[in-house]
Amino acid sequence: MQAKYIKKIIYHLIVGCFAILLLYPVIWLIMSSFKQSEKIFATAESLIPQPFILSNYAQGWAGFGDYGFDTYILNTFIFVILVLIGHLISCSLIAFGFARLKFAGRSFWFAIMILTLMLPYEVVMIPQYIIFAQLDWLNSLKPLVVPAYFGHPFFIFLLVQFIRTIPRELDEAAIIDGCNTFGIYRRIILPLIVPALATTSIFTFYWTWDNLLGPVLYLNSPSKYTVSMALNMFLSNETVSNWGAMFAMSVVSLIPVFIIFFIFQRYVVDGISTSGLKG
C-alpha cells in the first residue's frame, strides 16, 4: 500500500516537473503579455511583469482600422467549424472505403492520395489560385472551406490506419444481422473510431485556426480577416512592433484551441472503453 503511494508521488513529481520544463516558454509568453511592450526584451530573463499591466489586451483587442479582434475571432470560428464538419464527414467515409472495401483501383487511388501530400503547397499554389480566380471564389471562404468536403489525405490515412485495427468479425456479424455496407460504416465502424475522430477534430481545429497562408491568399477584405493574419499585423518591418499587443492576442487566440483540446482529449482516450469493445 505504502509502496503504491510512493510510486504515485514519484510519477506526479516526474510528470509534473517535466511539464513545467516543457511549459516554461509558454509561461514566458503569458507573463510577457502583461509587460510593457518596450520592457519585454529588456526584462526577458524575468518572468514577473514589472509593472503588471493589462493595456496590451485592450490595445490588441481594439484591432486595426474598423475591425476589432472580436471580428477576427468570429471569422476564424466560422472558418474552423465549416472545415471541421467537412473533414469529419468526408474523411471518415473515404477512409472506410479505403480500409474496408475491396474494389478495383484501390491501391492506385490510395497511392495518389499519399502522393498529393508530398508536393509542397508552394508550387501548386499559383495554378490553384488561378482556378479559384476563374471560379470567382476569391475574397471568400470558399477556396478554403469547399476542398475540406472532399477529404484531407492526412486524416483519411489516419482513419484508415485506425479502421484497420478493428477486427473484421464485427463486420461479418453485422452483415448477418442484415446491415448493408453503409450500415457497417454507420453502426460498427463510426462508433469505434471515435478516438481517431476526436484526434481529427483536434488537429483540424488547431491547424485551421493557425492557418496563415490560406487566408492571406484568399481573403482580401479586412472584415474577413482571421486571427493568424491579425497577429502578424502587430509586427512592423519598418518601425516599432507592438510586441505587447501581439503577445496578448496570441494568448487570447490560444484559449479556444486550449479549450477544444481539453474537451476532445477525453474522447481520444475514453472513446473505446465506452463503446464496450471486447478484443
Binding site: Q134, D136, L138, L217, N220, S221, N237, S241
Partner: protein, 442 residues
C-alpha cells in the same frame, strides 16, 4: 513532349472553364450591379449612377498605418461620394505573399503600395500602368521636385508614384559620443577618420555601429567612387574594378576585428531591434535610412542625433531613395480614378495631417510646410535631414533591376561569410561577380 503536355494542360483548362465559369461570372455581375444600385440609392445625390467607382487599394504596414490610412480613405470617400474604396492591408511578409498570385491571376488591386526592391519585377513584366499620362492631369505635380518623381521611372515609363524620400544617415547617441572623447561628428569625414573614431569607441568599450547593410552601403561606397552596384540598364554589375569590392569589405572586416562592430553571431542572437546595442545604450550609433530614426527614438530611452555616413565624396554617395510608391495595376479598369486618389494622397493637406510623414517625408513642398507644426520632434529632425540631403546628393539612378532580390541575398551571404572569416574579400569579389552577372544576364 512539350507540345503534348501543353495540349493536355490546355484541354483541361478549357474543360474547366467551360464547366464552371459561364454561370459563375453571370452570377458575379449580378452581384455587382446589386451593390452599385444600393450605393447609388444611399449616398449619391447628383452623381450619375454610371460614375460609381469601386477601387481596391492594398498596402503593408502595422497598426498605426492601418488606422490612419482608413481615416484618409474615409475623408476621400466623403469628398468623392461616387467612389468606394476597398482597403486590403497586411503585414510585409503576407503582403508580398498575396501579391504574386494576384499578379499571376490578373487580380491585382487597382492601387498597390510598392517597394523599391520589387518595383522592377512587377513593372518590367507589364503588371503596372505607366503613370506618365496622368501627370499634370489627374495628378498635380507642380509642387513636386522632378528628381523625386523620377524615382519611380523604370526604363521609359513611370511605374510608381514616389510617396516620400529617405536618405542614408548615421543616428548616434551624443552622450556616448562624448564619453568616448569625440565632441562632434563632422559633416564629412573620410573612411579612415571613420575607422579612427570607431577604434576610439572600441577602446572605451562601446560599439561604434552595427555594421552596414551590405547591398545598401556597398552601393553607396561604389557611388562615391564613380560607379554603382547595378549597371544603369540592369544588364549587369555597375562597377568594373573588383578592388572596390575588396576595399569596402576589408573595412567591414577590420571593423569587426577591432570590435568596433559586433560580430555577426552576436547580431544573429538579437531577438529584435529592441535588443540592439544602440537601443540599449551600448553603442554609439547605427547606419540606416533616415525614416528609421523615429522608430529608434521610440524604442530607446536615449535620444539621438543625425550625422552623415562616412566618405569624403559625400554628395556623390548620397541619394534620395523613394521610401515607397503607389502604383496602379495594368489590369485596373479605373486607372483615372486611381490616379485621382494618388493625387489626393500626395497633395491634400488635410489628408497629410493624418499621414504625418509615416510613408516618408512628403514629396509636395506645400504639404511639407503645412504640416510642419503637426509632426513630432523626431519626425521634424527627419524632415530637416532629408531637406538637407536634397541639396547635397546626386540622383539615385534606375531602381534595382529584376533579379536584385537574389543578388542582394548573395551579397548579404558573402558579407556574412567574410565577417565569419570563412572567405576572403578577394574570393568573395570574384564569386560575387560571376554569380551576379549570371543572374542579371538571363
Amino acid at each position: 513532349m512539350k507540345k503534348s503536355l501543353l495540349v493536355l494542360l490546355g484541354m483541361m483548362m478549357v474543360l474547366w472553364l467551360a464547366a464552371c465559369s459561364g454561370d459563375d461570372s453571370s452570377e458575379d455581375t449580378g452581384g455587382d450591379t446589386d451593390d452599385t444600385s444600393e450605393e447609388t440609392n444611399n449616398d449619391s445625390d447628383s452623381e450619375a449612377s454610371g460614375d460609381q467607382v469601386t477601387l481596391r487599394i492594398a498596402w503593408w504596414g502595422s497598426q498605426p498605418r492601418h488606422d490612419y490610412t482608413m481615416e484618409v480613405i474615409e475623408l476621400y470617400e466623403e469628398q468623392n461620394p461616387n467612389v468606394t474604396i476597398e482597403p486590403e492591408y497586411a503585414s510585409w511578409d503576407d503582403y508580398w505573399q498575396k501579391l504574386s498570385p494576384q499578379a499571376a491571376a490578373n487580380e491585382l488591386p487597382d492601387i498597390i503600395q510598392m517597394d523599391l526592391s520589387y518595383i522592377s519585377q512587377y513593372a518590367e513584366n507589364g503588371q503596372l500602368a505607366d503613370l506618365e499620362q496622368f501627370l499634370g492631369s489627374e495628378i498635380d505635380d507642380s509642387n513636386i521636385a522632378e528628381n523625386t518623381i523620377e524615382g519611380g521611372r523604370i526604363n521609359d515609363g513611370l511605374y510608381g508614384f514616389n510617396l516620400g524620400s529617405n536618405a542614408l544617415s548615421f543616428h548616434y547617441n551624443p552622450e556616448i559620443l562624448a564619453e568616448i572623447g569625440i565632441d562632434e561628428i563632422p559633416e564629412t569625414y573620410s573612411w579612415d577618420e571613420y575607422q579612427e573614431m570607431a577604434q576610439q569607441a572600441a577602446d572605451a568599450g562601446y560599439y561604434f555601429d552595427n555594421g552596414m547593410q551590405a547591398d545598401v552601403f556597398f552601393n553607396y561606397y561604389l557611388r562615391q567612387n564613380g560607379a554603382r552596384l547595378y549597371a544603369e540598364d540592369g544588364s549587369g554589375l555597375g562597377y568594373d574594378d573588383d578592388q572596390l569590392f575588396v576595399d569596402f569589405f576589408t573595412i567591414i572586416q577590420e571593423q569587426v576585428e577591432a570590435e568596433a562592430t559586433p560580430t555577426p553571431d552576436f547580431l544573429a542572437q538579437l531577438a529584435g531591434p529592441e535588443d540592439d546595442p544602440v537601443v540599449l545604450g551600448d553603442g554609439v550609433g547605427i547606419f540606416q535610412w533616415s525614416n528609421q530614426f523615429v522608430g529608434l527614438e521610440d524604442m530607446s530611452e536615449h535620444t539621438f542625433a543625425f550625422a552623415t555616413p562616412p566618405g569624403e565624396n559625400l554628395e556623390d554617395g548620397l541619394f534620395l531613395k523613394p521610401s515607397m510608391y503607389f502604383s496602379i495595376s495594368e489590369n485596373s479598369e479605373q486607372k483615372e480614378a486611381a490616379a485621382a486618389f494618388i493625387d489626393f494622397w500626395v497633395n491634400d493637406v488635410e489628408a497629410n495631417k493624418l499621414i504625418l510623414g509615416d510613408r516618408g517625408v512628403p514629396v509636395s513642398s506645400v504639404v511639407q510646410e503645412e504640416i510642419a507644426d503637426d509632426v513630432s520632434e523626431a519626425q521634424q529632425a527627419v524632415f530637416d535631414y532629408v531637406a538637407w540631403a536634397e541639396d547635397n546628393s546626386t540622383p539615385m539612378g534606375a531602381p534595382d533591376p529584376a533579379g536584385a532580390g537574389e543578388i542582394i541575398e548573395q551579397l548579404t551571404n558573402l558579407s556574412e561569410q567574410i565577417s565569419y572569416g570563412e572567405i576572403t574579400p578577394e574570393e568573395a569579389a570574384e564569386y560575387f561577380r560571376t554569380q551576379a552577372e549570371s543572374i542579371l544576364g538571363n
